[in-house]
Amino acid sequence: MAWYDVAREDSFEEDVPKVVQVGEDRVAVFRLEDGFYAISDICTHEYALLSDGFCEDGKVECPLHQACFDIRTGKALDEPAEIDVDVFPTRVADGVVQVDIG
């Protein structure tokens, strides 16, 4: 377990992710209506940052080819992406959103 601070809870807007980079891992953290969720920020199809993509209804789109991922589960929802993105646990400690990048 390695918890990293992302940002203060009250600084998040819905559907606007914040990004943390830890070593080679780049993780996008989203505020959804039921809490905070963290997924790998890199599309599994071609290199693109999901945090640059359109986000709606718990899904984020790759900005290059509009492949969709479920933010809660990391699941690749349509072509051309076929591989799920990694998901990371989150928690809120003293008003700060943290992500576990193990």
Partner: protein, 399 residues
Amino acid sequence: MKTVIIGAGQAGRRTAELLRGLDATREILLIGDEEELPYDRPPLSKEILLGEVHPKGLMQRGVEVYNAERIALRLGARVAGVDLGTARVEMNTGERIAYDSLVIATGGRARMLPLPGAADPRVRTLRTIADARALQAILRPALRLVIVGAGLIGLEVAAAATALGCAVTVLEVSGRVMARCAPAEIGALIASWHQGAGVTMHMNCRLEAIAPDKECLRLSTSMGEMNADLVLVAIGAIPNTELAEEAGLATDDGILVDECGRTSEEQVYAAGEVARIRQPTGHHVRFETWQVAQYQPSAVAHAICGADKRYLELPWHWTNQYGRNVQMLGAQGEDLEWLTREEGERLTSLGVDAYGRVRGAVLIDNGRDATPVRRIIGAEQVIDRDALLDPKRPIRQLC
């Protein structure tokens, strides 16, 4: 039931995979004239040239995937003809293969310049992965590369070759770059990236003769003489309609199909770039894009299974040059007024018609606007001009 698909490119692969998804039992045979397993072409003019051996964007599945899906492959195989009367495909070996349904997904081939000297091996085109690998092996610092045609392929190769240190000149017969696929302001912006990177851009310039010499190719153009070590001809593609024409299908610069991919003959379909697809307006349009090869096969697969699923996607394509991503959605014509929203380096330009409706868009490093823009175009609403121009108002809030 047996479906034979002629053409093992992206459209052929997608048709086979989607058809398998809809029908677990039918026989599916995919025939291709290249030795390579099916692949998508976008990386050919970018990552492959830059030396990546197996970029992910090729979407090239291993043979075990086809085995698992029970999609039979015949690669490096040529079809000699199609006999619609007996529903058979004839291979150039003389073998005859019966089908219940046939899909023609033969794509296109690169157009060549009708010039003497163009047969020299130093005059190339780029269409297949073999073309791309051969080009990659030649590109080196200080190589004098002349690219004929400032369309997407020509410009992407110019960007890659420049990154590799080649001395690149682009000749374009029209007055501007990307004349067929992007508005003038966007073309000018992209041209400025090339000029900034050191590419010599000659607009309104026609290549008139190629004289192969031992050391180099001596080129005569409408702007004077120049020498090249290598010429890449990137002046568009010609649809491979010969099999369809000889079989007697209706064609017109492409195989004529309805919105579901049906040709003029029962049980015969066309998929991808070779198809000229009927539009809701009644006229037919052919698309040379990854999008049509990716999504129109879904209509074809459904039609084969007896279901109507019309292909009505808003036209969309993209290019990557110098690390910038440019996406073009919908109409790109000069009849539209282009309103541009800039947010730092990101840009979204909206093409608005005389009634104030958004008809098309160009996004530069701004793919997050693609889905909202599609909705705005689809809604055909008149949108307040000040709102369109205000980058502080997210585009998703305009629809």
